[in-house]
């Protein structure tokens, strides 16, 4: 079971990874977008960490609601509303639960990706963060379904996200700013997929000992 504290640590760890990788994310975005993804997410996750510090959340769901709200309010760009909506949907899925089981976490992750897909209208193969989220959620689910431990499932999710990220290199973008490039978008990793890997890697890290 994951407690509120673990969710809090997830966000702090994500913010740390985003900070450490901000330049890389921005460079990826420079290649096929407008060179601000790292800057946007750094601003967004710093705001999320600050919001959690200022008004500590009582439940895992409340953590995610605060994070979603902060991301929407502070990130801007395409990624802000998308990640923010993802966290809000995940939060709703968790409801008032004080502790979260691996099944509940799986449902929350599925809710997140559903929210993102609904808002952005992107399908798998469109070369967006959805290409990292979708296999990650599937890998998590099948690990849990196969009786795997939570730590195993989150690691599988992060690994699958990484696979999804790699798969975006070959793809031509059909959503977001990179789609303006048409065929010239091929040959580059999608920045949003890259940040999704960080998010899930952070989750694997904070749940590694559970």
């Amino acid at each position: 079971m994951l407690d509120t504290e673990t969710f809090h640590r997830w966000i702090v760890e994500t913010a740390r990874l985003v900070e450490a990788n901000a330049d890389r994310l921005t460079s990826l975005d420079a290649a096929i977008g407008d060179a601000d993804h790292g800057i946007n997410l750094r601003r967004g996750f710093q705001a999320a960490v600050t919001a959690l510090a200022e008004k500590p959340a009582a439940t895992p769901g409340a953590v995610l609601a605060t994070v979603g709200r902060a991301l929407i309010s502070k990130t801007g760009g395409a990624s802000g509303p998308l990640y923010g909506t993802g966290f809000r949907h995940a939060s709703k899925s968790l409801g008032e639960a004080a502790e979260v089981s691996e099944l509940q976490l799986g449902a929350a992750l599925a809710a997140a990706v559903a929210g993102i897909r609904q808002l952005g209208a992107a399908a798998e193969g469109d070369k967006t963060m959805v290409d990292a989220w979708t296999p990650a959620v599937a890998a998590y689910q099948s690990t849990v379904d196969g009786g795997g431990a939570l730590a195993e499932a989150t690691r599988a999710a992060a690994d699958a996200a990484e696979g999804g990220l790699r798969s975006t290199v070959e793809l031509q973008a059909r959503k977001g700013r990179a789609s303006y490039l048409g065929p010239r978008s091929v040959g580059h990793e999608d920045p949003g997929a890259a940040s999704t890997v960080l998010l899930l890697r952070a989750l694997a890290t904070v749940t590694a000992e559970t």
Partner: protein
Amino acid sequence: MKKLINAPDDVLADALAGVAAAHPSLTVHLDERFITRAGGPTPGKVGLVSGGGSGHEPLHGGYVGYGMLDAACPGEVFTSPVPDQIHAATTAVDAGAGVLHIVKNYTGDVLNFQMAAELADDDGVRVESVVVNDDVAVEDSTWTAGRRGTGATVFVEKIAGAAAERGADLATVAALAREVNERSRSFGVALTPCTLPAAGKPGFELADDEMELGVGIHGEPGRSRAKLAPAKEIATTALEAIHADMPLSGDVLVMVNGMGGTPLIELYVVYKAVAEWLSGHGVTIARNLVGNYITSLEMAGCSITVCRLTPELTELWDAPVETPGLRWGR
């Protein structure tokens, strides 16, 4: 990176404080990050709210004022504004007649305005949105995010603003805004890249003899790289791309827009080529703008925007406007 700034993270806050100090006709809501007319909402008038990433000045804050916008929401440099600030601006300018959101077609802008519209709707404010997508450099297909919104935004804001000032209702103002957008097309060319203050290095690279054809206003790559060409050829490339997409005829409104780092003397050289191409194709320039109206930080280059006018659009274009960026008739 050589910029007249204090610190990369302070650019927007400092610039907004500068706008506040420079223009008594505007109220700059520094904390909530939006700009309105100083007088508050005009009773009974439809409110016009636009916004988008900063770095395109005078767009959008410079177009707040009589005959144009009621509010502008500047995002961080090249980053769409967030729903909170758009929501706050929308509520601030609603005078009971509803609010039109003028949104450039970028996923980030569209999503953030959409969320803001939902928040405003919860407050009982009627919101219509028009999405500007005039850039012919990118394909408009159901398989993409569609065309980008660029220069036509200035035309939409001016003409819809004039209609709203005359008392047109929300549906009419929105329909006019969409009509202007549908009748307008743009094409941009960059000679040099630009540098986001927070990034510190150029967003893309161009060799000494290269230009980017079809560049986006955030320095997004365009249709192709090409060898730097004479102004006349550049104008021809742009106009042919526009003409292929929307055959030009009759009276048009033309803007030759500098991207921030191009001197006015060069824009007039381009304008000459544009005027000659159009008159050679039987098209009449009824109105024009030559200058920096929608920029991309210090990028060198220009964009050309053409709107096929109707008598109604011409009349609304000519109506008085009094903003820091566009002013005539008062």
